[in-house]
Assembly symmetry: C2
Homo-oligomer: 387 residues x 2
């Protein structure tokens, strides 16, 4: 089946330690740039989907500030780290249903103030303490994402023999990519030794296992594939998509830390696209932690369950590797804008716009979004050909 | 074209001055009841869409508390008063795309504490003061929805000669319906004189022009029409839908107060359903204020622009009238759960479950959702026949 939906525009603000603009201002700038990139003008936009990070409650305000009129689709959505992918999916379905023709999806955040983090929007979990289980978790010091993911990673280490050095291989590979990207916040190459020497955040996570905090905004223009072919840039076809939200069994059950929600959304999205992992040229994976990359690769089927450590340490992820992954440095070394990080780099690579970091073969690009504590997951399959 | 989507289940908690449960607890109860109403069990649910009112950030928590597993669609969405309709639309498109088969949409709120309102979730606008225009508005005392809508209503009165007594006719008609509904918070019949004597809230709005504040939750189960026919209750077919978000021109432009976003979403939804206003048997309209009902009826085309006052005063809306509207007492006399109020009563009437308030002809039921200050709008066309 030929893809009927495409990403026709990408807009990015300056990202990283960029001070001054509020999240809504970053969002507005990203929307303007995405629309211009597509060769469109703002009055062409008839749908706006806003990721509810720090930009909460600004939906109609954003539309008005941009002078958007008579929108036929407008909402703020959150599924945490899976939101960016989910917005593209929502836009695709609305276009298919005839609700709208040109939908802009935007994520922006501005947690950094004058160089000091005021805390990312997705910081401490507000619902901790809601139940007996969570009260106990909070009382044990597990008050944020770092500690929760650390426990998940530790479980993977204990069960499969995964090592901190293997996690480090992810960080090293991503930094190697980042060193080639003008968009990346951290561009100095690192070694496994650097990773091992970086300070503890929450054992087994060193500093270099954890994502950055960034200000900025990213927007994409989604439209029909037919229309995208008449616009300014080569269409990035949306070949397949899915979500997976496993619920209680992965958090409290025997699989905690061993399997992620990628095991649900990955195979479903690849099935929709009519591909297998063998067809994937590039991966852009949500990497709030090095561990997340490793387990996503396992759950997507790039290696057997439990063999993710060996897989990432084999050198496949970095420049020159067989499975180029997080080619902009990801959230670890590039910039952290939730699911908009892998989405933006996915569009760049599919288009062949990656400059010094461009991957030679980029016909099929997988983009993942992961949120909560392995609770939310979205997958997009992007491609240069409609299939 | 035959409808491919239906609402198969409705779940409502006790609504009104119901103290004790939190919004997430109301939400969970509503979901359980909706699923049971459809003749399904919780493991059948593979999608959950949560209206982001007071229930913010509980999406995965709600899923886990209910024991939902392996969801293929999960998000929290806000488009303010248009959200409930928008969720049903989102669910419909996801089912059509094969993302999920059984999607529950839920809204819950619990602003009332021990009989005293702690403020509805949608209270003072948080984005006031964001721009010069809004700073001026806030400085003039326009800090909440009451004052903003009052100004819109006043404009309608000044331009078209609409009177307070005509607004009162909406309140009287809805109370007459409420007197027949066991779900309604206010059931004592009122007269135009009672309306006129009720205290000022924000001129020209008397108390009886303004919606209630309520605790409670409402959920609906959306599935394919084919599947709904095999379930426990008669399918409520989703025949058409649309959204309309006019943006800057209606707020700041010459049309402020004279035309609402219903003028965008209503015609589009009726076109999708292949109907005209002549085919509509029942209206369930978002009635945060009496004025909203009047202008929605104009913008949907039930009367000419500017003639809404005469139309509603002619007695068409109440029991025995030609256009039964807000048959559960609406948000003015029934209960206020954002767009879940008109949605819930729309499902009840389409099914013929209205008891003493059931309308005889109920083949086609219009449901509206209105949010912001006439900024957000959604319309659903529900029906007993797939068409």
């Amino acid at each position: 089946m030929s893809a009927d939906i495409a990403i026709a525009g990408l807009g990015m603000t300056e990202v990283g330690k960029v001070f001054g603009p509020t999240a809504p201002q970053f969002a507005a700038q990203a929307v303007r740039r995405a629309v211009a990139d597509a060769g469109l003008i703002l009055p062409d936009v008839d749908g706006l989907l806003v990721s509810a990070g720090a930009t909460r409650d600004v939906t109609i305000g954003l539309a008005k500030d941009l002078g958007l009129k008579d929108l036929q689709l407008l909402a703020q959505v959150t599924a945490f780290g899976s939101t960016a992918g989910a917005l593209v999916q929502y836009a695709a379905m609305a276009i298919r249903a005839g609700m709208a023709e040109t939908v802009v999806c935007v994520h922006a955040d501005a947690p950094l103030r004058d160089g000091t983090s005021a805390g990312a929007s997705y910081g401490a979990r507000r619902d901790l303490g809601a139940t007996g289980y969570r009260t106990a978790v909070a009382a044990a010091g597990m008050t944020g994402a770092n500690q929760m993911y650390a426990m998940a990673a530790r479980r993977h280490m204990l069960t499969f023999g995964t090592t901190s050095e293997q996690f480090g291989a992810v960080a090293v590979a991503e930094r190697a990519w980042a060193s080639r990207s003008p968009l990346a916040q951290l561009r100095d190459p690192i070694t496994i030794e650097d990773h091992q020497r970086s300070r503890w955040i929450a054992e087994p996570f060193h500093l270099f296992d954890c994502c950055l905090v960034s200000n900025g905004g990213v927007a994409v223009v989604v439209t029909s594939a037919a229309r995208a072919r008449d616009l300014a840039r080569p269409p990035v076809y949306v070949l397949g998509w899915a979500q997976g939200h496993p619920g209680v069994q992965l958090e409290r059950g025997s699989q905690f830390g061993l399997v992620s929600a990628a095991s649900l959304s990955g195979p479903a999205a690849m099935k929709m696209a009519g591909i297998t992992t063998n067809d994937v040229d590039v991966c852009e994976l949500y990497d709030c932690y090095t561990y997340t990359v490793l387990i996503t690769l396992e759950d997507y089927g790039f290696c057997a369950k439990g063999e993710g450590g060996e897989f990432v340490a084999s050198g496949v992820l970095g420049p020159g590797g067989a499975l180029p992954t997080n080619t902009g440095g990801g959230q670890l070394s590039g910039y952290y804008l939730w699911g908009a990080t892998p989405l933006s780099e996915g569009v760049i690579q599919t288009r062949g716009d990656g400059g010094d970091r461009q991957v030679d073969r980029h016909d099929v690009v997988l983009v993942s979004g992961n949120g909560g504590i392995l609770d939310y997951h979205s997958t997009l399959v992007l491609g240069t050909n409609p299939g």
